[in-house]
Amino acid sequence: MTEEQPWQAWLNTANPILKSPRNQTRTVFSWAIIIKDCLWIVGIAILLGGVLNYTLLLDGINGKLIAEIQQKQLTDLRQKAEQLYPGISFINLISAKKLYDDKLALFLDARTTPEYQSAHIYGAMSLPIRMLVQGDIQLDKVLPDKEALLITYCDGGECDTGLELAKELSERGYNNILVLGEGYPGWEAAGYPIEKAGIKQ
């Protein structure tokens, strides 16, 4: 035992094969040891993670984290748009609401039909990007005016279907398209008119 370092002894517990022949007390299967070592691993992880991410943890406790994540996702989406689809611009909530109140823009919901049915911006038209790409929607019939001002949206910064719908429409000859980056969740959180399960709110 004397030649075995303490750290080796610790590492070798629950590793019966590595036990010395002189140290005949062969470690048998022991839940206690295994769980103790699990706690060690998790404990070190908590220590390292806690020290390195304490600001993130504090934001989580204060409830600010979700707002930060939404902001980050929106920024990422805008960056992605700038790189991939340079011609497409975003519109913020307040400007979008102004256009909405003046009835100057048509809102297009790029999410799936069930999502649209459960809740959407009041007066918005459902135009699921997948159905459009598959050719299930006759665009000339639903949107005859190519110069109309269109605002696309989806579920906020975490989704890019609103952006992709805008790109698809601009490729098909529509000229006035804006993307509402905050999407439906942002619109709802701002207290603007929505339609939930067929009822205006």
């Binding site: 010395s20 934001d59 989580g60």
Partner: protein, 159 residues
């Protein structure tokens, strides 16, 4: 059943699983906010839970993965990884049932949706993890090698 006792198979599975967890965990440590954002997309957790998970889980993944690769505390690491897989499988199943079209956030930079396919893959990996837990004793590993070099008399097999 002899194959299950094969030490080289143990080593291969352990390196695969350990490497996978290092590969999954390290980028999350580098980009905690990105990982937090992936957790948020599941739409299941509060701000508090997202903060805790984003701060700690990547480190648990990395340490458990490292333990498997090095052959240290193999069974404990395999147990932790099994528990993580149970969580991942549940999350993939819940997202698939709810019809969410989201990235699973498993590996940053790799597109992998949280759906039935991801769930089946995770179940297979959970099998690997159980396999290590039951059969692998870290006989061939860097740690065993260090032990061998530092104290040659101890290399005799006692089993």
């Amino acid at each position: 059943m002899k194959l299950l006792q094969n030490e080289y198979l143990h080593l291969a599975v352990r390196l695969l699983l350990g490497g996978l967890f290092l590969y999954a965990g390290l980028p999350k440590i580098m980009d905690t906010m990105g990982f937090a954002s992936s957790i948020y997309n599941y739409k299941l957790f509060s701000s508090f839970v997202i903060g805790l998970t984003a701060a700690f889980i990547p480190w648990v993944e990395v340490l458990a993965g490292l333990a498997l690769v090095l052959g240290v505390k193999v069974r404990s690491a395999a147990l932790i990884i099994s528990l993580l897989f149970v969580v991942f499988i549940s999350l993939a199943a819940i997202s698939a049932i709810r019809g969410l079209d989201i990235d699973c956030g498993c590996f940053s930079g790799v597109e992998r949706k949280a759906n039935w396919m991801a769930m089946l893959e995770d179940i297979a990996l959970l099998g690997c993890s159980f396999f290590i837990f039951y059969f692998d004793r870290g006989r061939i590993s860097p740690m065993a090698l260090i032990n061998k070099i530092s104290s040659p008399s101890k290399t005799e097999d006692v089993s």
